[in-house]
Symmetry: C2
Subunit: 204 residues, 2 copies
């Protein structure tokens, strides 16, 4: 009845689906719950996305685009090696603060297999390439410790996404730790950790 309009409804559904896929996992989230949260019947959802899988693909695509935007914007005007790395971490944490299920969904995307993840990561590929070149250049400059740049990027990724998604672990290891303050603390820790991993070290 309300006829909210096609494109808007579509993106609302995708955002809610990302939330629920992130929180419950792909298998654990149901089309009924997603549509109910948006205030619409399941059949309306199926009108926009003919299958659950199609909905997932739309989510993967949308998440990739969103993350690419956030990172690209964070890099604007930044110059130094360290400044750029820190800006990216900060931007990702800011996104996680306003949308806690986002990193959870990204992790779920990885769990669903390479094909699914590629839908998400495909959009980010130019940025990935830039990052590898950036790290390589830093190593050539002597500003970054020498190592395999792609492998380093992978490890940085896991450290950041891990610290954003392993809340239960954090709770068990560090103790009660919730809310924004915790997020800021984790950002500080990851930032220090990454910095230590990037910095060239004298011995060995």
């Amino acid at each position: 009845m309300p006829r909210t309009g096609g494109a808007e409804r579509r993106s609302t559904l995708v955002e809610e689906a990302i939330r629920q896929f992130g929180r419950e996992g792909y298998a654990g989230a149901s089309l009924d719950d997603i549509s109910r949260a948006v205030g619409v019947r399941k059949q309306t959802l199926l009108y926009y996305f003919p299958t659950k899988d199609a909905l997932l693909e739309a989510c993967l695509q949308a998440a990739g685009v969103r993350l690419a935007e956030v990172i690209a914007q964070a890099l604007e005007g930044k110059e130094g090696y360290w400044e750029r790395a820190e800006a990216v971490i900060h931007a990702v944490f800011a996104l996680a603060a306003e949308w806690p299920e986002f990193p959870m969904f990204v992790r779920e995307a990885g769990r669903l297999g390479p094909e699914a993840f590629e839908r998400f990561a495909g959009v980010l590929d130019p940025l990935r390439r830039r990052a590898v070149d950036f790290l390589q250049a830093g190593m050539d400059d002597g500003q970054v410790r020498k190592q395999d740049p792609a492998m380093l990027l992978f490890t940085l990724y896991t450290a950041v996404i891990g610290s954003l998604t392993e809340a239960s672990v954090l709770n068990a290891v560090v103790g009660a730790d919730r809310g924004r303050a915790s997020l800021r603390r984790r950002e500080k820790e990851v930032t220090a950790f990454v910095r230590a991993a990037l910095e060239p070290v004298g011995e060995r």
Copy 2:
């Protein structure tokens, strides 16, 4: 008919459940599939574990015990700060090599919420305490860079578990990368990363 015997069947079911919970997630794995993989009917599984949740708890407990054993054994006879840290990482990677779904299951345990994770991590608590004390002592000695030891442990955890579970990401970032050789490479990378994070640095 075969009457394999209670305790053995029980542990076989738990091991298979860990595999499937790890691979498909808790919601994605079905009691039918788990029991079928063991060669038994679902009702036999339900004889040992009255509900799916009871099965999960048994898995969490068993996984905690197993990991505690592996780590404790790895620490035997090791002395130096770095030697001990490296031994733990190596032991966890060895476990992952023989049982790929194990780290996946641990990650799933974290995803299922603090209560579930506590079932797993409770067993590991003495080791956790030892690790924190160990890191603190290292900092007092000046052998480990000064920081919050619990937070550092958390970050180390995420780096290790991440590099073991994010195979799809690795594939997307580094390129085709499967099998034992890949695992060894990742272990080397994580080891170097952790070492860099632990080492005291001159500047800042």
